[in-house]
């Protein structure tokens, strides 16, 4: 995997050199170690710093939720049972000490014990993380190529019927909150109009979401409809800009076939800004999936997070918040690397 990106990067460099502004670049003067590795290294360190800061915010912000012992016991709390539970959960130690213990545990892959379930957090959330990750991956694997395809095609057919229809429909879906889309799909395919698909995803404990693919259709479709419009619109705008650029005109004037102009010169340059939007959308999916999981009763981190907040189950909230923050950092790093790889102008500035 490590050699993959850099290998293809240099190949891209060779290919792009005759065409666009990359002609001014100096691909031959690249040092023995590609500067991209130094960049990645710096970004990883920066990401670690961000996560450290996030951990401070997450830990101390979650304390504001109130006393977890009281939230767990609810109305049945008595002073004696409260004191016993606080002792058991180490809630009576100084906050900074609690934070350092928590952070130390986190670095060793131990996120503490759930206050509500009295089980290790990692064990409690493992299945949910797999379920959510699977949902996001499937939704991403469908929506990313789909939106690039739709966006590019709309740009090529600018102001023609397809483009107008695409602009209108993506605007509609981008404007609808995903729970509305989800409920509409349920009404349409599960409960009222047709009865062809399950309206909720019931994943039995120990089961995996892919055991019953039909139960995945509606949640995935909802997420695809939530993400595709944004990415497709950015792709279209970006592609139109590229198609009007000097180097694409140059390529056309050189007499290159239109297919080559688009796939070799236009598309790679239009993808740069799109990658950023894709990364943001995937990261958004990881957090925004909460609503979709709620609508479909899908047992992922969204439902887990909601339940944890309800129970004031701090270790679970903290672990999930750190997980989502980590995902943001990683996806942004990947998007930046990918953008640089397809944008010679940026690459040469490393």
């Amino acid at each position: 995997m490590a050699s993959g990106p850099s290998g293809s990067a240099s190949a891209t460099v060779e290919r792009l050199t005759p065409g666009g502004p990359a002609a001014q670049a100096r691909p031959t003067s690249a040092p023995a170690v590609s500067p991209i590795w130094g960049f990645i290294g710096r970004r990883i360190l920066l990401g670690a710093l961000v996560l450290f800061l996030v951990s401070i915010v997450v830990f101390f912000a979650t304390q504001a939720l109130g006393d977890p012992a009281r939230a767990i016991l609810g109305r049945s709390a008595t002073p004696a049972s409260l004191a016993a539970l606080r002792e058991q959960l180490h809630l009576n130690r100084p906050l900074v000490e609690q934070y350092l213990t928590w952070l130390g545990g986190l670095l060793h892959g131990d996120a503490g014990n759930s206050l509500a379930a009295q089980e290790p957090v990692t064990k409690l959330i493992a299945d949910h993380v797999v379920n959510s990750a699977f949902l996001v991956l499937i939704a991403g694997a469908i929506s990313i190529p789909l939106s690039i395809l739709i966006g590019s095609y709309a740009a090529l057919r600018r102001d023609k019927a397809f483009d107008v229809a695409m602009s209108l429909s993506t605007l509609v879906f981008a404007a609808l909150p995903e729970f509305v889309v989800g409920i509409m799909l349920v009404v349409l395919f599960a409960t009222t109009v047709l009865h062809v698909l399950p309206g909720v995803s019931i994943i039995p404990p120990g089961g995996k979401p892919w055991d019953d693919p039909t139960a995945l259709v509606l949640p995935v479709l909802t997420l695809v409809l939530a993400v595709t419009p944004y990415v497709a619109r950015i792709m279209r705008a970006s592609m139109i800009e590229v198609l009007e650029s000097d180097y694409v005109e140059m390529a056309r004037l050189k007499g290159l076939p239109e297919r080559v102009v688009i796939t070799r010169h236009a598309l790679p340059n239009a993808l740069g800004p799109t990658f950023q939007v894709i990364a943001l959308n995937l990261a958004y999916l990881a957090g925004g999936i909460i609503v979709v999981e709620y609508v479909f009763n899908y047992g992922g981190i969204g439902s887990e997070l909601r339940d944890a907040v309800y129970n004031h189950d701090l270790p679970v909230i903290q672990a999930l918040a750190m997980l989502i923050a980590g995902l943001y950092v990683v996806l942004n790093l990947l998007a930046d690397v990918a953008t640089i790889l397809v944008t010679p102008k940026l690459r040469t500035r490393l």
Binding site: G66, D67, R70, I72, G74, R75, S76, A77, T78, A80, S81, S114, A116, A117, Q118, E119, L124, I183, V186, A190, T191, T192, H195, P198, G199, V200, I202, I203, P204, P205, G206, Y294, V295, F296, N297, G299, S303, E304, R306, D307, A308, Y310, N311, D313, V316
Partner: protein, 539 residues
């Protein structure tokens, strides 16, 4: 045969009582359908269109209100799914039927009060635990000792606290004598509460390390698997002591986070029954040919509570004025969308001694205004505390504030997420929630000093309420006890701190493939979850 004659023939055939007949004819006149009339009358003689019970199938129940803190314990619950799971495996000595009448129909062959402070439990012969051992007196002694140890924090602890834990005597293999610390005539009622289940010697609550094998009960289903917040699977107990029952091969209890997803699962056929459908979904479910709504007259209540020793509520004129401000029907309409009945500031409507003869209070803003003026609080401002503790608590507070404007006063509603914190039970005017109980057990829980939740700080120091309470607990004659209980209710009606606008119904839904669900009075949904899913079957 028209609907009216259908009802009459049911009356003659003994299927329904005279009271139900008259009530039903009245409802028919009001335009209701025969099925809904029968449902509302709560016929207990068998399911509507039920037929002969059949064996087989996996019954899937959707329940909201659960989460990671779900538990399984034969004597404790925190969430609603806990209730459904408890009754699959654990049973009580006595049982409440669909009319909330206490029946000797449980694990005990007899439960007798030999003296005001002595009760004797005699077990049925030959009831087996899930592991094949026979239920005996040692198990009963262990069960009581477990419930009575406050360290265990079990749900029934407060209600049983008059039993002396060190003086529970095993008389023989099937007989146990409960010696009380003081006279208590409510022990029998406590023994019928679903959460006071019998567990075998050495029993412990479910934990994922030991797995389902530790959940040994006498109930109709054995626990096969359980993941808190997700689902549990219960398989038929082939050696169940009630012959023929249960009917399902398997029961699956599934947690739902969102009531709409839960309703969608029922509409799409992924579950066979659900608890507490959102009121907005009632018509959707009714319109669906394969589904039915089960509306049960529950005894749950959301009181507004005035602490009778905190000014200005220490003045009974203010309390009476506040009670006269309430338009009870508007509460039923706005908080419950009509799924409830108006109440009269008294709790325990299913108690045999319930004071139904006290005149129904109605809104009287003029009277309220003049009472407030004479107490010196005309046009005053009051604080009302509430929280999202149970559905309707915030609505109730807001509706009261709205109605109070009619009496010229201002009520500021404080919605506090940490309501059940340090200030709980110390507030002057607040909203709370309660389930169904008989009168005296409810008093022991919330209306005498020493009760765990005496939110209204009842009774006033100059009343003889506490003496009445103790003499009622000591009175073994039902008629005499009812007279005392009536006097107690009269005191609360005249001077109490509670405003009780309504009792809510339990509104559940199920697939018509399932037979055996009947409306029932009580705390639990779906006919006490089919009494542990043993009185329901796939028709």
């Amino acid at each position: 045969m028209d609907d009216k004659s259908t009802l009459e023939s049911m009356y003659l055939g003994g299927t329904i009582t005279r009271r139900q007949l008259l009530m039903g004819i009245g409802m028919l006149a009001a335009g209701a359908s025969i099925a809904s009339v029968l449902a509302a009358c709560g016929t207990s003689s068998g399911p509507i269109g039920g037929g002969t019970p059949k064996r087989g199938g996996n019954f899937r129940l959707g329940v909201t209100g659960g989460g990671a803190k779900d538990m399984m314990d034969g004597q404790n619950i925190i969430t609603k799914p806990d209730q459904a799971r408890l009754v699959t495996a654990f049973e009580t000595l006595l049982i409440y039927n669909e009319q909330y009448e206490l029946k000797t129909d449980g694990l005990a062959e007899s439960v007798t009060q030999d003296a005001p402070d002595k009760w004797t439990v005699r077990l049925r012969q030959g009831i087996e635990w899930h592991n094949g051992k026979t239920l005996n007196a040692d198990d009963v002694v262990y069960s009581f000792q477990r419930m009575l140890d406050p360290k265990n924090g079990l749900f029934g602890n407060a209600g049983l606290s008059s039993i002396d834990p060190n003086n529970i005597q095993k008389m023989d293999e099937r007989t146990v004598r409960l010696n009380l610390k003081q006279a208590d005539s409510t022990i029998g009622e406590q023994l019928g509460q679903y959460y006071n289940g019998m567990v075998p010697v050495g029993y412990k609550r479910f934990d994922s390390a030991t797995g389902p094998s530790g959940q040994i009960g006498t109930g109709p289903y054995k626990l096969q698997s359980f993941t808190p917040g997700q689902q549990s699977v219960h398989v038929r107990n082939p050696n169940y002591w009630r012959s023929g029952q249960p009917y399902f091969d398997q029961v699956t209890v599934i947690d739902f986070t969102d009531p709409t997803a839960q309703a969608n699962a029922l509409l799409g056929g992924q579950v066979d029954a659900i608890t507490d459908i959102p009121f907005a979904q009632v018509d959707v479910v009714k319109a669906h040919s394969g589904l039915a709504v089960l509306e049960s007259p529950g005894g749950g209540w959301l009181p507004l509570c005035m602490a009778i020793d905190i000014p200005p509520f220490s003045d009974n004129r203010v309390r009476q004025a506040f009670r006269l401000i309430v338009d009870r029907q508007a509460f039923v309409t706005q908080v419950l969308s009509g799924h409830g009945r108006i109440a009269n500031d008294l709790y325990a409507p299913f108690d045999a001694c319930f004071a139904s003869d006290l005149p129904q209070r109605h809104q009287d803003l003029q009277q309220a205004k003049s009472l407030l003026a004479s107490a010196g609080f005309a046009g005053a401002t009051f604080d009302l505390h509430t929280t999202d503790g149970a559905a309707g608590m915030v609505d109730s507070a807001n509706i009261f504030a709205q109605q109070a404007k009619g009496a010229g006063i201002t009520v500021n509603v404080h919605n506090d997420p940490n309501y059940y914190g340090d200030n709980y039970l110390k507030l002057g005017f607040s909203v709370d929630f309660w389930g169904t109980r008989a009168y005296l057990p409810q008093v022991g829980n919330g209306s005498v000093p020493g009760a765990p939740y005496n939110e209204c700080h009842w009774p006033p120091s100059d009343s003889n309420y506490i003496q009445l309470y103790h003499s009622a607990l000591a009175e073994t004659d039902q008629a005499k006890r009812c007279q005392i209980v009536h006097d107690m209710q009269k005191l609360e009606y005249d001077k109490g701190g509670y405003i009780i606008p309504f009792f809510n119904n339990l509104v559940d839904a199920y697939s018509t493939k399932v037979s055996g669900f009947v409306p029932s009075k009580g705390t639990l949904n779906l006919t006490s979850f089919g009494h542990g899913f043993r009185t329901v079957w796939f028709g």
